[in-house]
């Protein structure tokens, strides 16, 4: 908090000036947090802090100059229209896509030093569910690092994976080939694979996309139990209607960071219109509801 100006940050990636250093609509609290995170040493325990992150595909920017610090013990939604760079932001933080500039810190350190504390749940549609493995096999993959190179999966690890499957309500489906699962069940298998890692931070790409109501509730209660034990989850989310009910914090993204902070302050009709360009009719409904205080 001592230095509110990010432009003066020490190894300032911002020194190559390109336009406004601030996201256009950042609200008060978020701005203050951003100022702190220009100096990671000030917030060493923040589960995730993103600095000045810019990503481009074929020279077209898809994430532009994002600055954000995730508070610990919260459920955080990343919300924005298609092509807003939500998934890319997660992947860039994890080093899965090359960044043009900026970096992400996890618990105050580079990702490679704290991989064990971070669990990633890719989009369900990113893999081939016809693959010849069982639900249990997929969950066990979350333990491969722990098991180590070249070593076979022993019973001890299979038991851990079984417990994780039970936590997502799929205890009876362990031996099921993954193509024999419903979309919601597949999503829960992915979650179980993240759970076995016993991480402190969960990065989830659209876990609620295309799932049945039972799965939605299962995922939600799982997220809440993670939060209740001090874990943090950053979740790419597409359903504006449920943001208020499900999440504590929200990050509104449309290539640039439009706003970020507690849902009650940031998830406003104005900010949403800014994010979505005022195109969606649903925005007005959501805005009206919020005005009514529902």
């Amino acid at each position: 908090m001592t230095d509110p100006s990010p432009a003066s940050s020490v190894n300032g990636p911002r020194s190559h000036a390109r336009g406004s250093p601030w996201p256009p609509l950042a609200t008060g609290p978020a701005s203050a947090a951003s100022a702190v995170l220009s100096h990671p040493e000030h917030a060493p325990t923040a589960p995730l802090s993103i600095h000045d992150l810019t990503v481009a595909y074929h020279r077209k920017p898809v994430v532009w100059d994002v600055e954000y610090e995730a508070p610990a013990g919260k459920l955080i939604a990343i919300v924005g229209p298609n092509g807003a760079g939500k998934s890319t932001l997660l992947k860039a933080c994890l080093g899965l896509v090359p960044v043009v500039s900026g970096q992400a810190w996890f618990f105050g350190r580079p990702f490679r030093e704290v991989r064990g504390r971070v669990a990633y749940v890719p989009q369900r549609t990113s893999v081939d569910w016809d693959f010849p493995v069982s639900a249990l096999d997929v969950v066990t993959m979350g333990l491969y690092r722990q098991i180590g190179w070249f070593r076979p999966v022993t019973r001890k690890y299979r038991e851990q994976a079984r417990e994780a499957l039970a936590r997502v309500g799929l205890a009876d489906f362990a031996a099921r080939q993954i193509s024999q699962l419903s979309g919601g069940q597949q999503q829960r298998v992915f979650l179980a694979r993240a759970l076995v890692q016993k991480a402190d931070l969960y990065l989830m790409d659209e876990p609620f996309a295309g799932v049945d109501a039972a799965t939605e509730q299962a995922i939600l209660s799982l997220l809440r139990s993670l939060r209740d034990t001090g874990r943090t989850a950053v979740v790419v989310h597409h359903d504006l209607e449920t943001v208020r009910d499900y999440f504590d914090e929200v990050l509104l993204l449309n290539v640039r960071l439009v706003a970020s902070g507690p849902v009650s302050q940031v998830f406003t009709a104005t900010n949403l219109r800014q994010t979505y360009g005022g195109k969606l009719a649903i925005l007005d409904q959501v805005g009206e509801r919020m005005a009514e205080g529902v």
Binding site: Y120, S126, M141, R145
Partner: protein, 329 residues
């Protein structure tokens, strides 16, 4: 005339010149014939190895990389031969040198494909087609230069195109057993890492696995198999041994371990059967026969495989309707 001899005549076997078909069958079955068991062992080991490592090539969606490696191996043969002839005329036909050259350009071809795919706007299939035809064309040119040399040792270079298992000797069998053991051993050691790579490479990368390295190793070991296979199956058809057995095995199981074992078995059987047939009927080329056996097993698997064979699919569809609505796939 016995029915066996009739069959022999139908196969085009030269019954009058050599021993009778029944006699040859007997010698084959009792492993009496050195000229048969060396090719048989070499090719069976090759088939098993190709099947096992091919599982991951197929699951990674890199089936055609095997084809590129095979075709790209040709200029390596030509180059190695010409270099040896330049250094010391008459020494060109040294099998280890030719195989090493083949491996080098085969890997170079695979590398070019991946680079074009990654760093240019050309799509993966275009990159494959470009590299495959470029290297193969280059190889044919080099071979025709080699043909003009008057050392006589260039004879038989063309055997690498479609394979000639009859020329395989004990040292080839030893080489294929050693390399086969290395490749299968590496596959078993890396089984879970490769499974993860093939299923979800983004997750593997997030876990800290060197995805590029694992990929390179998979392609490298496939290239070793492809080069080994040139002698018996020929480099044009070697991709079949890498791809058909895994594809066939997939119809029988939903478990990647079983799939690997099945692919190894199907590969070994195809290799052995192909060599057996062409030793009984020497006019039939070995490589294509092996491929035909593999393809036949694929056809049977496609129809009858109890996991996803066509005949079982109807029943599977019915079964899925017994599942409660919210659990349906």
């Amino acid at each position: 005339m016995g029915s066996l001899e009739l069959a022999g005549a139908a196969l085009g076997a030269d019954a009058a010149a050599g021993p009778s078909l029944a006699d040859r069958l007997y010698r084959l079955a009792t492993f009496q014939d050195y000229n048969t068991w060396a090719p048989l062992a070499t090719t069976a080991v090759l088939g098993a190895t190709a099947g096992v490592v091919g599982v991951f090539l197929v699951l990674r969606g890199r089936a055609l990389v095997g084809d590129v490696v095979g075709h790209a191996a040709l200029p390596g043969i030509g180059l190695a031969f010409l270099l040896l002839e330049l250094a010391a005329p008459g020494t060109g036909r040294s099998t280890p040198a030719l195989l090493a050259g083949a491996l080098l350009t085969g890997l170079a071809g695979a590398g070019c494909t991946l680079l074009i795919d990654r760093y240019s706007r050309a799509k993966a299939d275009a990159a494959l087609a470009i590299v495959l035809s470029l290297f193969y064309g280059g190889g044919i040119v080099l071979l025709s230069i080699a043909q003009r040399l008057e050392t006589g040792s260039q004879a038989g270079l063309k055997d690498y195109l479609s394979g000639k298992s009859a020329s395989l000797v004990a040292s080839d069998a030893v080489l294929s057993v050693v390399l086969g053991a290395v490749v299968i051993g590496a596959t078993l050691l890396l089984f879970k890492e490769w499974t993860l790579l093939c299923f979800d490479d983004a997750f593997a990368a997030a876990q800290g696995y060197p995805v590029v390295g694992l990929d390179a190793l998979l392609i490298g070991l496939s290239a070793v198999v492809a080069v080994l296979g040139m002698q018996s199956v020929g480099l044009v058809l070697v991709v079949a041994l890498l791809i058909i057995p895994p594809a066939a095995a997939r119809f029988w199981t939903d478990d990647v371990h079983v799939m690997a074992a099945g692919a190894g078995l199907i590969g070994a059987l195809s290799g052995a059967l192909g060599v057996a047939v062409s030793s009984l009927a020497p006019r039939i080329a070995t490589g294509p026969t092996i491929v035909l056996f593999a393809a036949a097993m694929f056809g049977v698997s496609l129809l009858l495989g109890h996991r996803r064979g066509l005949l079982w699919r109807r029943r599977a569809t019915h079964r899925s309707w017994d599942v409660p609505v919210e659990q349906r796939p």
